[in-house]
Symmetry: C2
Subunit: 167 residues, 2 copies
Amino acid sequence: MSAAERASLPARSAARRMGYEVRVADATDAERIAQLLHDFNTEYGDPTPGPEKLAERVRELSAAGEITVLLAAGGLAVLRFRPSLWKEALDAYLEELYVVPGRRGQGIGRALMNRAIEVARERGAGDMHLGTSEDDVAARKLYESLGFDNHEQGPDGPVMYFYEREV
Amino acid sequence: MSAAERASLPARSAARRMGYEVRVADATDAERIAQLLHDFNTEYGDPTPGPEKLAERVRELSAAGEITVLLAAGGLAVLRFRPSLWKEALDAYLEELYVVPGRRGQGIGRALMNRAIEVARERGAGDMHLGTSEDDVAARKLYESLGFDNHEQGPDGPVMYFYEREV
């Protein structure tokens, strides 16, 4: 066991006792992931193809190495990785972060994010980015407490917006 | 020649006469792309590994199909594609858009964006997204005129922010 592993043991054990240990999903988790994604979009009134189609898609994308999913009791994080244009490293993108309503406020989102950052580091990512909405106050507070910034070139820079359109 | 191709001819010829025809870059363009990327970051005070290292990286990522670069006289757009989690389509991401200072205000950015949307459609993308800064007024005006929105669930929704951190 390395010193780093030993140092992180108390935190891991506490997480286990609190029931929100986070693990990297494997091929057997597709249905569970699909259900959480479906619940996520249903809760926010966004379109969803339904749990069955989502499970198929999750299976495909996981097998192709296109997504990395972290699972906790009642929550998940979906990560993407791509080689950075500017450095010899990966860019990590947090595509989804969700905790079911009944498990919110228990530190599950934070546990998922901490593990997401750990996994991104392990894979060799240099940067991580994400998009989130102005009114998602709890998520923004969490991201900001973890050092994410929505300003260009440091906290005094201009705000960065996330734009999208259908093509 | 298809009807669609015929219909787009006048616009293409005008673009050619104005000197801002846009084309998809190939393996021979790595140095040119690298120089534009280097100039971009130098102009905005962002770190750059220099034109030589960038050319190598552009060659690697192009060969691996990781980036699609569009070139115009004095400008470029860098696109990424990844399979969407939510539908059987690709997501397109505009990673960089740059026009050199001496060629701004001539419609080159718009020509690059129009071609980027065309290319995204041709590849089978369903959505396109991008991040940009509050004070990049010209770019935001261009994106908004092309139908990009930085609000969740339509123009009356909450603003979407782009967050990042090193990992």
